[in-house]
Subunit: 353 residues, 2 copies
């Protein structure tokens, strides 16, 4: 029996609704597999937890989850309770940083049964590989002067190590897909970081002669997500550019409610973390209408990562069959509840086996 | 007779094809108006000029055009001849900087007769007001160490003055439109500049109680351009975010080939510059198939700026009638030539008067 220890953090808002649903799916996967078991340890870290304890997690929080095989997270943040820079900074972004989850991977793929806002989406299948530890997201910087003379400097910090490892990841994964890697740049406007980014990309491309490469400025590339997403395969991007592109990817898929993400630790010292792209949507929390597919597709990415890609495939196929059958939540044009969608996905998995 | 002095810089590639067409349109406008005259002075500054002279413009270039009422520019850049950072840096970006064109304005509006890649574009009408002088586009920064230890720092510099004036422009223009202003931020990820941006926005909103305001993170906002563009009116954004959003705006309009832009000088010391969003497209240059509408709509923005909004309206109406009639270049699904489209626009203007 292969037993996987999962640290489960539902977080805020609809995170608390969709995570239990995804765990039901994982239990069904374990059943189907036969030789697989998930042990869940739940952590109630959230904005409510902050209200009660004054911190987003206990002092030894990271210690507690460090030994798990993966972290399965719902959504963090509820600006009505706690400012975002605290809730996100002390929980989501802290785990990403301290557990050296240096890469964020997000697929944008046209699923069967989804209606894209694009009139002719042509079966796109993009994988966004985002740098997740440095770049534009940096606490370096500060202010001088006051009033109308105030000046704020924000530093973006790019390291050869950081840029190389995300690009290497991009080249490797492009090799396992369609062999095509696009780099998101803005070296025609941003003077230091982006020419460096281009240099590293060019240098590395030389050692991957089988990969077709392309560099596009972030403005043009954002437009391509709308006008010709089918021409993209793997896209490697800085922290900020990857953030923007992955929301665009979610948009062209038809809803941010279905988009999954993985925060990958590469050095094996810490667990990776799996969390959907959507936020906690406090406005719809508690109504049973949240789309569970983002969290469930995220579980599929976790299965792939934990060495169970066949199970991941069964799960994605079940998601597509469910969408095709019309069992959908309101955000994607259906009228089913969160639980009904999950039930349909579980049934569609069983059908395949 | 009102005589307007225009400095005309066709630049590279299709700039050389579409600028003369837009001048034909301006001449027709002068005819229709009766009391208006345009004097054109042509400057051949371009990548070819660089090959010949080693600079993108003569030493006294800025002096030469400084006294004009406006600069009318085609497109700059041809990476096969001159690296972008030189061609753009020494011509386009230099004029923007030295002539203190601190604001870049770009509409994204669904025109009659255009086919959006969105299946249900719902008549969006957005105006992007982009900071054009500071922020993420900065030459401040540098490198330390070598090889795998190399570290690159890129500074973004935001000033109270710069941020206030672009926001003020946004609030004022929102007041003349639908009274709705959205600020593009990323204060949940970027620690110094974006919280500052939010502060200034909030502060200024207090003195514009009639304007409905909204702040959206750039990732979510990019997605809204795809999923619900009709909910946006004026969007105020930093240099980089405005750059990205305006290409997205062009994408949802149906082609970057029709998108116009204005680089606005606010202090009256220098002329403003009008240039379409598209680049020089050297691959299609010389074939007579370039879409002239970007340049012609840009002429409309120039007319508005030069105190001739009625002429601007006639021109935009003529563009829409031409699109509706199906006289279009290949990039937007037609088979007409650059000149045929211009002819049709001129005819449609005359029809109205
Ligand atoms: C060419 C480039 C520097 C420029 C910019 O980003 O400002 C262009 O993309 C634009 O938007 O006008
Ligand atoms: C909440 C925010 C800091 C976060 C990010 O930009 O990383 C989110 O947008 C995401 O993409 O996971």
């Amino acid at each position: 029996m292969k037993t996987l220890e999962l640290a489960v953090i539902p977080g805020d808002g609809i995170g608390k609704e969709v995570v239990p649903e995804a765990l039901r799916v994982l239990d069904a996967i374990a059943d189907i597999h036969g030789g697989l078991k998930f042990n869940y340890t739940h952590y109630p870290w959230s904005s409510e937890y902050y209200i009660e304890h004054g911190t987003m997690m206990p002092e030894n929080g990271l210690e507690l989850i460090k030994g798990s095989d993966a972290i399965f997270l719902g959504a963090v943040g509820d600006p009505n309770l706690v400012p975002d820079h605290i809730s996100l900074g002390e929980l989501l972004l802290r785990i990403r940083r301290e557990f050296e989850q240096v890469i964020n991977v997000r697929p944008a793929k046209q699923l069967r049964g989804m209606v894209s806002p694009l009139s002719n989406p042509k079966n796109f299948d993009i994988l966004i590989v985002r740098e997740n530890s440095e770049g534009e997201y940096s606490s370096s910087g500060g202010r001088v002067h006051n009033g109308i003379d105030e000046i704020v400097v924000q530093n973006a910090v790019f390291t050869k190590r950081g840029v190389s490892r995300v690009m290497e990841y991009g080249f490797e994964i492009a090799g396992k897909r369609n062999g095509h890697l696009t780099s998101a740049t803005k070296s025609n406007g941003i003077a230091h970081s982006m020419p460096f980014w281009d240099e590293v990309f060019k240098e590395m491309a030389a050692s991957y002669p089988a990969i077709k490469t392309r560099s596009e400025h972030i403005d043009a590339l954002s437009a391509f997500f709308v006008t010709r997403p089918e021409t993209l395969d793997v896209v490697v991007a800085s922290n900020l550019f990857g953030d923007i592109l992955s929301d665009l990817g979610a948009a062209i898929m038809g809803s941010i409610g279905i988009a999954p993400a993985a925060n990958i630790n590469l050095n094996g010292k810490y667990p990776s973390m799996f969390e959907p792209v959507h936020g906690s949507a406090p406005d719809i929390y508690g109504k049973g209408i949240a789309n569970p597919i983002g969290q469930i597709w995220t579980a599929k990415m976790m299965l792939d990562h934990l060495g169970e890609p066949e199970m991941g495939e069964i799960l994605l196929e079940a998601i597509e069959r469910t969408l095709e059958s019309g069992v959908k939540t309101g955000d994607i044009g259906g009228s089913s509840t969160t639980q009904e969608v999950t039930d349909a996905i579980i049934a569609a998995m069983k059908e395949q086996t």
